[in-house]
């Protein structure tokens, strides 16, 4: 996997604690004292079992919910969850929430990525149309501009949302489970697209996934978030040599279940280290 030479820090978190604050009760803490950083052009995969707090971590990094404590900076500027417009200029987010709007064209949807930059009347900018068509080309959807979004396949919709994130012109793109609901060819194609975009544009990409195999192939760096809030970081190769995967995806209750998981990781490691 290629990695560009001069790396600039894009995202940094210091002593970050994530979770949910409750009024009058102690907060629910999912992970604490996280020290994270993402460099330019890096693709980072966030993996972890259900309930470990992957979505919460992504939502916190994206400024969609405030951290319990600690700070997050993007290119040196702090992220504040109440300043959505500034945040939208620093990072873009691809969500899995379904968009159910009829008669909405791909072009119209992608153009909404320019929202933080257009004036309050949403007038088109000088180079707006060019940017949008370029982004559609980058996600391999050239010629789709006038198609209706709700008539596209799930894989195509995902790529339209990625194009919307691209026109937002941010150094970091965060994707929450971009391969959920997709079949295998589409999952592979989305992951390859993320890799290519990072290499071609120098943008950093952070995605969460349950596709361990694909994530291992795509990412420069993995964040393994365990139940209990421990986060293990490293390159896929580094993590493969230890027991990090088994520890992260441990199932405490059933021996047979755990054997199957261990077998799975043995195969995964064999196929990846052999390369």
């Amino acid at each position: 996997m290629s990695k560009s030479g001069a790396n600039i820090a894009i995202l940094e978190s210091i002593d970050l604690t994530i979770g949910y604050a409750h009024q009058g009760r102690p907060p629910l803490i999912l992970a604490s004292h996280l020290r994270l950083n993402i460099e330019s052009g890096q693709v980072i995969g966030l993996l972890g079992p259900n309930g470990s707090g992957k979505s919460t971590l992504l939502r916190t990094l994206a400024g969609l919910q405030p951290p319990i404590s600690g700070s997050i900076t993007i290119q040196g500027q702090p992220i504040k969850s109440n300043q959505v417009r500034q945040t939208a200029r620093m990072l873009s987010v691809v969500l899995t929430d379904r968009i159910d709007v009829r008669n909405l064209t791909v072009y119209q949807l992608v153009s909404m990525g320019r929202y933080p930059f257009t004036d309050w009347l949403g007038r088109e900018e000088d180079h707006g149309p060019e940017r949008i068509l370029t982004a559609l080309h980058q996600v391999r959807l050239a010629g789709y501009a006038n198609r209706f979004f709700n008539e596209l396949s799930d894989g195509e919709q995902q790529r339209v949302l990625l194009a919307k994130a691209l026109v937002q012109d941010t150094a970091l793109i965060i994707l929450d489970e971009p391969t959920a609901h997709l079949d295998l060819p589409n999952r592979i194609s989305i992951m390859r697209l993320l890799r290519t975009l990072a290499d071609e544009t120098g943008k950093s990409i952070l995605f969460s996934s349950h596709d361990l195999d694909l994530a291992v192939h795509t990412a420069d760096h993995l964040w393994l978030l365990q139940n209990g809030g421990k986060l293990i970081q490293g390159s896929p190769r580094e993590l493969m040599t230890g027991n990090a995967f088994e520890d992260t995806f441990r199932i405490g209750t059933d021996d047979l279940d755990q054997d199957i998981v261990t077998d799975y990781f043995r195969t995964l490691k064999k196929s990846n280290i052999a390369k």
């Binding site: 994206a62 969609l64 959505v84 417009r85 500034q86 945040t87 939208a88 200029r89 873009s92 987010v93 969500l95 929430d97 379904r98 968009i99 159910d100 709007v101 009829r102 008669n103 909405l104 064209t105 072009y107 119209q108 949807l109 909404m112 990525g113 929202y115 933080p116 257009t118 309050w120 009347l121 949403g122 501009a145 006038n146 919307k164 937002q168």
Partner: protein, 347 residues
Amino acid sequence: MNTKKTRWIFPMLTGILVLAFFGDLVFGSIRLSSKDFFDALLGRPGDQNISYIVWSLRLPKAITAILAGSGLALCGLMMQTLFRNPLAGPFVLGISSGASLGVALLVMASSWFGGHAMVQVFSYGHLGMVLAAMAGALIVMFLVIWVSVRVADSVSILIIGMMFGSATGAIVSLLQYFSDPDAVKSFLVWTFGDISAVTAEHLKLLAPIVIAGLLAGLMLKKPLNALMLGENHARVIGVNVKRFRIIIIIVTGLLTGAITAFTGPIAFVGLAVPHLARAILKSSDHKALTPATLMCGAIIMLICDILAQLPASNQVLPINTVTAIFGAPVVIWVILRNRRGRTPFVS
């Protein structure tokens, strides 16, 4: 991207609007010859009575129809977009129920204390009734805003708005139960809706509020387009969801409150017209959808007013019955059309 279609849709809507406007001036319980009508309209010397009918009765009524139709339709559109619910309308926030509570209190509760005299003083169409309705609408609006600052999601606002509506509706029922039949009747007549009660004097108050609301609604096209995707999608492209939610509620509250105060609650226009505009435009882009909704609302209201005059020449139907009879088939049609759209393999 529907520029080719929009190009002829807006001139067409403008044409229909002008026709409907003049139609509403010409048709009425007193038939006017076209010569008399144009004489009166252009201020040529002629029959004073006809001049009075055109200028003091029909013109204010037609203008009210345009204001009420476009205002309610805009509220319906904003509510449907904000709540992403095709069945939302201007009345979901309970604001018009607040208006009816104001009127009910004035008409019925006053009859307990002052007897008929009070009802006579604040007789139908009088400014006192308007002020009572406005006060009721504003109180509910502020309650809804107070709540919406405190809850995170729009669905809760929708539910709470409907609860306010139900509660005020129940109080109105109680008032009716304990009031004498005359007072109940004058309240019921108010609920039928009447745009002819709005005089030129009233328009001086109603028109600025509605025009300000319409302009605000037209300027909200960018956040409305974003909110249509869902609140999370709107947030990640930089929309301050909470702020725009409150702005939309204020604009809707002022429009619905003011219109309901002057004309009584007019059903269905707000719910049905945005669907009509979407079907005509085949676009969900508020840049075109908002103006089209305003124009369709004005047209439908003018047509409903013409229909309310026609059937029995010297009897006028309550406007609410006409809009509902027109609105129900539209809503049914939209639901049937949506069902067809969801099924794949059918174009």
